[in-house]
Amino acid sequence: MAYIVGIPILMLLAVIQATVLSSLRLLDGAPDLIFLAMVAWALTGNSRQAMAGALFGGLLIDLLSGLPLGATAIIMVIVVYLVSLTAGRFWEANLLMPLTTVLWSSLLYHGLSLAVLLALGRTLDLSFALGRVILPSTFLNLILALPAAQAASSLADTLYPPEVQI
């Protein structure tokens, strides 16, 4: 059921990210909707679905960017897998969890993207990339972290209502 709902949602997020958010940037950074969605979904405990979604979403991002198909998908699966390791830990119910997770995972996601571009032979100024792309993008991701976590939690409750013992 989650896959049926997830695929159109991811496609919608990809189109919004490419068309709308890529024109509304803070410096050169923009929020990463698909990444946020998959991190938030991983935090609900549905790790496998989040990783599968990360593969599909990453491929969509690669299709809509100049990166080779599969590069972002690999990065996103790695990051979402690492995020899923933190799900269910003692601080699960903490409000800070989505924020902390999005902070480090966002930095890791962009860092790995940067590494891929460098490996592909792109000329990149690291301080410029950090100051104008990675930090602004991470900041925007942080702003959207709590709404994304809340939306994912609500969707998870709708798709998998908690069992009630009568």
């Binding site: 990809a14 189109v15 068309t19 960017s65 998908a73 792109r122």
Partner: protein, 278 residues
């Protein structure tokens, strides 16, 4: 098998699938599939882009906003449907104005054949400077074709699918454009910087270059046709101990406001250089 190792195995399988796709893509085997997937996505992007540009244009011009908001309030009370039609018609007028300018430009360049295409999105990766246009191989677009507006050079097509194409902007640090300064006739090459600035480098020390000089494509290298306006020099740096002069270029095209572009379809570029990607 414990839950954590099962998860790790699942992640590994997914990574291997992605890596397999990466290899297949680099071999060029996935282009038909990409075209197939991009067709509906491109359609959705075009649909959303038209509406987004309409809203952005409204918000970007304060004078119009005040007037239009007033009109919208009146119309809201009368008929919500009429309100939507007005916004739609305004966008059509704006598009017609842009198209009119493009047609004028195309008429002034009778040797070139043009294909008008709308910009449907920008590169999702913030590290790359390229845009997607709503025309692809079905419309006759091919890799390497130059892209312009009535103001000047935009870039060139670097990736083509059935219904959409990716255009690498001249502001992308990996783009290569050879240029000629109109007054001094000196040759140079664009050196786009990571911060968005464009420098013109490799200008001979003997050339008398001054700010305000118009920069055109030179046609050298075979990537672009000659004499397409690129921009104007805003400052020149000349040091005796350096081999070349350097100048800062103000592009004639506003890359933030790109909505419609022209693809020059009858230009035959020299074999496409893969090193200018991705």
């Amino acid at each position: 098998m414990s839950r954590s190792s099962s998860q790790a195995l699942f992640a590994l399988i997914l990574i291997m699938i992605a890596a397999g796709l990466l290899v297949l893509n680099m071999g060029g085997f996935l282009s038909p599939v990409e075209s197939l997937v991009l067709r509906p996505i491109g359609g959705a992007q075009s649909w959303l882009a038209v509406r987004f540009y309409a809203v952005r244009d409204l918000l970007a011009s304060p004078a119009d906003v005040a007037t239009l908001r007033g009109q919208v309030r009146e119309l809201q009370s009368e008929n919500a449907q009429l309100q939507q039609e007005i916004i739609g018609l305004q966008e059509q007028v704006a598009q017609a104005q842009v198209l009119s300018a493009l047609v004028q430009y195309a008429r002034s360049q009778p040797d070139s054949h043009y294909l008008a295409a709308s910009v449907i999105s920008r590169d999702v990766s913030p590290f790359l400077r390229s845009v997607w246009i709503g025309a692809g191989s079905d419309d006759g677009v091919a890799k390497g074709m130059p892209v312009v507006t009535d103001r000047g050079l935009v870039g060139r097509v670097v990736e083509v699918f059935a219904s959409v194409s990716r255009v690498q902007l001249i502001t992308d640090p990996s783009s290569v454009v050879n240029v000629r300064l109109q007054t001094s006739r000196a040759d140079g090459s664009l050196q786009p910087q990571l911060n968005g600035e464009i420098w013109v480098g490799t200008i001979s020390q003997d050339a008398e270059v001054s700010p305000g000089e118009i920069v055109l494509t030179s046609g050298l290298g075979g990537n672009y046709p000659p004499d397409i306006p690129v921009g104007t020099l805003t400052s020149v740096r000349r040091r005796d101990y350096e081999l070349f002069q350097q100048a800062v270029l103000q592009p004639s095209v506003d890359f933030r406001q790109l909505e419609l572009v022209l693809v020059i379809t009858n230009f035959q570029p020299l074999p496409f250089n893969q090193s200018s990607g991705p």
